[in-house]
Symmetry: C2
Subunit: 349 residues, 2 copies
Amino acid sequence: MPETPRRTHRLSGSRYGNRPTMKDVAARAGVGLKTVSRVVNGEPGVTPETERRVQESIEALGFRRNDSARVLRKGRTASVGLVLEDLADPFYGPLSRAVEEVARAHGALLINGSSAEDADREQELVLALCARRVDGLVVIPAGDDHRYLEPELRAGVATVFVDRPAGRIDADVVVSDNYGGARDGVAHLIAHGHRRIGFIGDMPGIHTASERLRGYRAAMEDAGIPVEDAWMSLGVTDPERVRRATEEMLSRPDPVTAVFTGNNRVTVTVIRVLSERSRPVALVGFDDIELADLLRPGLTVVAQDSAALGRTAAERLFRQLDGTLLAPERIELPTKLITRGSGELPPAD
Amino acid sequence: MPETPRRTHRLSGSRYGNRPTMKDVAARAGVGLKTVSRVVNGEPGVTPETERRVQESIEALGFRRNDSARVLRKGRTASVGLVLEDLADPFYGPLSRAVEEVARAHGALLINGSSAEDADREQELVLALCARRVDGLVVIPAGDDHRYLEPELRAGVATVFVDRPAGRIDADVVVSDNYGGARDGVAHLIAHGHRRIGFIGDMPGIHTASERLRGYRAAMEDAGIPVEDAWMSLGVTDPERVRRATEEMLSRPDPVTAVFTGNNRVTVTVIRVLSERSRPVALVGFDDIELADLLRPGLTVVAQDSAALGRTAAERLFRQLDGTLLAPERIELPTKLITRGSGELPPAD
DNA sequence: TAGAGCCTGGACAACGTTGTCAGGCTCAGG
DNA sequence: CCTGAGCCTGACAACGTTGTCCAGGCTCTA
């Protein structure tokens, strides 16, 4: 990481960090160093009069305790790290916020970083957080090998993986029921008379994607419908390619009459494609989308509760820190089918 | 803040934080402490052979440098703080991500917190970040008095306010052209023949809200249209009340034929109300919304570029840290009118 | 009035790292 | 063989805080 060595000063001559310390406060108040510490931390054993003098001194100097030093001494940082894929994705906003709320309730701050779906960057971020000695880590994995975390786990850094399981280590995991959700969603389409159903999802290397694909296959098999390869498009996620994939499925001599989309980004693009066509095509998407109810037809989705994922993970994290928790566990949260119209369209054969 | 005093241990007897230090690494490798430091920091002056031994030792022990100690020594934390209103709001996701990207380019981590639109909580968060000695702060203000930051500014903590100006202190500010954007949006409605135009926005105490209201009034005045009080609904933001306010405007003997909404949350609710009515009502909203193009009619908006706000602020922050920057400045980013249909509906008189 | 016990305050070490500085080694040149 | 230059290496202090421990002064009682 690039350092910034040179630094001209914004203020006259004073060094950066030339901030008042407890020593300065003590000198000004005419008390000992430790007395200031006691006042700052609300410890007992200080006369009201002394306390007043110290407080006045703190105000006057604009003193703020240096938590780096405190952490060094105490061993706990009262901060937790969150590594996710992309904060700008509407799926992660509520998740992050939920983690933050739980952290706040435990008096901890949240440091977060986006891995941009890159395993190396994930590791770099996680290790940077560990170097800062966060008390705990919530990780939405990008990579599939997390053995690099072994020393941290051994050292007692609380760790919870969310949305996707950890790779090659034994750790707490909180995930949605991707398999069951997808199966239900596809079964819903089948129940409305569809037999030729397309699936557009992410690379099967991604755990959530492969689980959803598995759910799709299971629903089809349950209904005794053989799946044709041409109905599935995997690893396709950028808008242009999703568009092409969708159009191909719809232009076959035997076109699909319904589509199941594997995540919110894919869903959005497919909606665009379908909205340009006259023949109605049924659609169920994985992940809810804002305004889904305002589309015509309304969008039927398999919704996962991203805030609940974050909350559950964070609560588990702090239970690890309490020592309340023993063995790593895998928690699966249910998904919910929300019908709004697009999934209930009959096949246009 | 509540501390968690008790703590049972996850691992056998070892204290938490009983992690290897440079001293341990040094002992195992049979070298001096400082030599380890040199290897860890890539400083020159270490024999390849010595370096190898040290590296081996680091691997074996799972050593990670303790950045708290490092920070204490060096004075810089290589982290910046971001305080915003609510990470779960789609407006802030891209903003936060943009700040993170710039920080990353400068080798810094991002710590963020949500103020939940509460001035006390904002201050609490900001001071917590200062206690951690973040190098810089990006703040989306909830409160309107930031004099509590004076000691930090004096101490050289880089600070940039975004989206709304700072209160009672002199600091860098990056905002959208709320006034101009609203004026353009309303003028757009007027240009399409509307004269009775409603405005639904947040409390005028919020800077962005009052600026947008000012823009509304200006556009009306420019067109020589006297504004009636009943056309304006201020400080109304929760869905139920927005709904009522909208319905009242539309049910008057002289109903409004168009509505200008002051932020994305209001817009969404108004869309819902309008979609239930048969008579078409024109709508222009402040802030873009995902899928706005898929609605029928498409939603016309005054869009601000939240990522650009974040990027601009963060870049300015690091220029402060470079010492490149001198006087605090106010930067205004333009907004963009995106026409998609709802704003071009003619008045249904 | 003296002694016991309590309350307040402060001196000191320690946390893990980095900057400074000096010592020891090697090697070339005289 | 000696000297000096140059390269590695490590001892030590310092960063700002908190935990431990002790001293001094006070109050209260016998």
